[in-house]
């Protein structure tokens, strides 16, 4: 029996919708495909803000006078870190998952589509309010991912800090709702026969990420609620000098911060697994092991909390670094199995594979640097950590996300993105992350502190200025890379609609036209393996032959 033989003649084939950048009814839509595109678009807009702020900070550090952002450096540092992590990378993953998960599991939509619409608008409103808090005034500098208490002096209620805390609560509630929806969709709406182990790797990674988000995000919400109560009412939970302020904050928010750092990385493993398997034209080598590794990655991300030895009165386990090092094992296992999947002779050279290579190289660079830093005893509070964050925890997932965007672009927009511009963008992003991280790494090896507005004062070295400029150059390359993507999107979407399955894909998202009709599928295949389309193709009749 073939795929086409099962199509009911009474069921009309829906015409592919014409993709547009701003979908009609965009205010009221609950269609997961539109919401997914809107998530991606908004996250890219926020990315430009976050990267722009980062550039302004680097310019300040690169000049001798350091007057570009002045004393607002720590506030802008908080803005840069929260926007790039919570308003760009996180929502970019949510956008891809919102679009792709129902298609990959053979569902007609999300479990609760209106909840996803609510989550999207909550995210947009929260994001705009977060930016707005800097218009109202200057929210207290809170550090990257809020990993330290608010150290600013208490001066009574600050509207800006209040708004900042409330906006972050809104953004996190949005991610919580989206995670609950994706989790429910993956557990309850899979096609007949699609058991959990048969799910595509990306959907599997979304399942693991969503489950972990459901448990970690509430901790952050509670932390921000305490910040709000403290700030708005002039409280003293996090006041400087409060005996256990650091303990409460660090132990509470690290319970969110640590998993979150790794959960932003986890979908990368799913995307790369799907991209590699599709373009290698082979099943993912030892797929159950890869999926198990992703699950282990999510579980272990909570354990890294115990390795936070810099926290006051931290829980010091006998081998604390074992928990950090343990995170490398699942990721390393995935890398080996991707290599086992690829046969050079059968490989389809697609631009998304360039991003995969960039992702792997950045991870390896980060791993190598961690070993060198451990041998040389580099301080974790030095600029070295900035490099590590930019390369491994932010740069690598960004490249993986764009690998996914280029891979699924024919499905998402109905048109493949230009490979030449894609390759140029990859070189700019990869080069930007490497150059920026290299500057930070070298600064760290030389003992430069991180999060410092001016590196030209007493106790600093002249050579540091050149390295700071190197960081700035990296930031400019990253900005250019993002602009090239927007250009590519604008140029490519003017082309004709492509075919539904340009890769001879084996997962269900390629069984439907591109872009998919409103209900995704005219009919739903009963899944019998983790490569359902390959099975159908194999059972298709040859010329003049009989179907099974």
């Amino acid at each position: 029996m073939t795929l086409t033989a099962t199509r009911s003649p009474d069921v009309p084939v829906a015409e592919p919708t014409v993709p547009v950048l701003v979908p009609e009814h965009w205010l009221t839509t609950s269609d997961h495909k539109r919401l997914g595109r809107m998530y991606v678009a908004m996250s890219l807009l926020f990315a430009l803000v976050g990267v722009g702020v980062g550039l302004a900070m680097e310019l300040q550090r690169a000049t001798h006078q350091g007057r570009i952002v002045g004393s607002d450096y720590s506030q802008l540092f908080s803005l840069h870190s929260t926007v790039t992590v919570l308003l760009f990378l996180g929502p970019l993953w949510v956008g891809l998952a919102t679009y792709l998960v129902p298609l990959q599991i053979g569902a007609r939509g999300l479990a609760l589509p209106r909840l996803q619409a609510l989550a999207f608008w909550l995210f947009v409103t929260g994001g705009l309010l977060l930016l707005g808090s800097y218009v109202f005034g200057r929210p207290n500098g809170a550090g990257i991912a809020l990993s330290q208490p608010l150290m600013a002096p208490k001066g009574g209620a600050s509207r800006a800090t209040d708004l900042w805390a409330v906006s972050l609560i809104m953004v996190t509630v949005a991610s919580l709702l989206a995670a609950a929806n994706l989790f429910t969709t993956l557990v309850r709406l899979r096609a007949d026969g699609m058991t959990l182990p048969r799910m595509p790797a990306f959907s599997w990674s979304v399942l693991a990420t969503s489950a972990a988000t459901l448990l970690s995000a509430p901790v952050f919400i509670v932390g921000m609620l305490l910040v709000y109560l403290d700030e708005h009412f002039g409280g003293t939970v996090f006041a400087t000098g409060q005996v256990n302020a650091n303990v409460v904050w660090q132990h509470l928010v690290w319970m969110y911060g640590r998993p979150d750092v790794y959960l932003l990385f986890l979908p990368s493993l799913g995307v790369v697994s799907d991209v590699v398997a599709t373009h290698a034209r082979r099943p993912l080598f030892m797929a159950p092991i890869v999926k198990g590794a992703m699950f282990a990655f999510a579980v272990l991300s909570f354990g890294v909390l115990a390795a936070n030895r810099t926290a006051e009165r931290a829980v010091i386990l006998p081998l604390p670094t074992l928990l950090s090092a343990g995170m490398v094992l699942p990721a390393g296992l995935c890398l080996l199995l991707w290599l086992g999947t690829v046969r050079p002779a059968e490989l389809r050279l697609h631009v998304s594979l360039l991003y995969v290579v960039g992702f792997v190289v950045l991870c390896l660079l980060g791993g190598l640097n961690a070993v060198i830093a451990a041998i040389r005893g580099v301080d974790g509070g030095s600029a070295w950590s900035t490099g590590q964050i930019h390369a491994v925890l932010f740069g690598a997932p960004i490249l993986a996300a764009f690998a996914g965007v280029y891979h699924w672009a024919p499905k998402i927009w109905g048109r493949a993105l230009r490979p030449t511009l894609g390759a140029l963008q990859m070189l700019l992003l990869f080069g930007g992350f490497v150059v920026s991280a290299a500057g930070s790494w070298l600064l760290g090896y030389d003992g430069a502190p991180w999060h410092v507005a001016d590196l030209t004062g007493p106790g600093t070295k002249t050579a540091w200025l050149a390295l700071v400029r190197l960081e700035g150059l990296g930031g400019m390359l990253i900005t250019l890379g993002l602009l090239v993507f927007l250009l590519n999107l604008g140029v490519s979407l003017r082309g004709p609609v492509g075919e539904g399955d340009p890769y001879e894909g084996t997962t269900l998202e390629w069984a439907t036209p591109s872009p998919p009709p409103p209900d995704n599928f005219d009919y739903v295949i009963e899944v019998r393996s983790d490569r359902p389309l390959a099975e159908v193709t194999a059972s298709a009749p040859g010329p003049g032959g009989e179907a099974d």
Binding site: T6, R188, V222, D230, V248, V524
Partner: protein
């Protein structure tokens, strides 16, 4: 059969119930985080309750009884829906909304007369955070109960479509857990 046509796809009546259970797990995680913060603060500061603060067990006990009565009402509503007895279900959910309202009212009163708050003591912020989370969760439950009443009146909630009734039952269980975490912190752990 290899395929089901789109229109023939089975509908899963418990999708929303499952999502509510997932979000209830998040509510429990939030309360666990607050309880952890509470214990962390206690380990290095003055003993609870702070000097000058009087904790009246009467309020805590009354709040506990109210929330347990709410559980009975949620069970009453679910029973009515599953057995197809609409008037019983409506009565159950109206009582649930009333008990929920009474709970929120007493909770805010308890916080108001506690003679301390976020500005006066670190414990104040934690107690108010506990109250904010439990209160917000209860208000959501009241909203769900009122939606259930409206749907019962419109015949959109029945034995054939009981998802909302199960969702409310599970969610109220999570609200109860949230309250008893707060109760343990404020009234039990001395």
């Amino acid at each position: 059969m290899l395929a089901l046509e789109s229109g023939e796809r089975r509908s899963d009546p418990h999708v929303s119930t499952f999502a509510v259970v997932a979000l209830s797990a998040s509510l429990t995680a939030a309360m666990g985080a607050l309880f952890g913060a509470w214990l962390s603060l206690r380990s290095g500061t003055a003993v609870w309750p702070p000097k000058g603060v009087v904790i009246q067990n009467y309020y805590g006990t009354t709040l506990s009884i109210t929330i347990l009565l709410g559980a009975l009402a949620a069970g009453w509503g679910l029973y009515g829906v599953v057995k197809g007895e609409r008037s019983q279900a409506i009565a159950g959910y109206i009582f649930l909304a009333i008990f929920g309202g009474a709970f929120v009212n007493l909770l805010t009163y308890t916080l108001r007369v506690a003679r301390f708050g976020p500005a006066t003591h670190p414990y104040g912020a934690l107690v108010f955070a506990f109250g904010a989370v439990v209160g917000t969760a209860t208000v959501v439950a009241i909203g769900m109960a009122l939606v259930a009443v409206a749907r019962l009146l419109g015949s959109q909630l029945s034995a054939g479509e009981p998802a909302l009734a199960y969702s409310i039952a599970w969610y109220w269980l999570a609200v109860m857990i949230a309250w008893f975490v707060m109760y343990a912190a404020v009234y039990v752990v001395k």
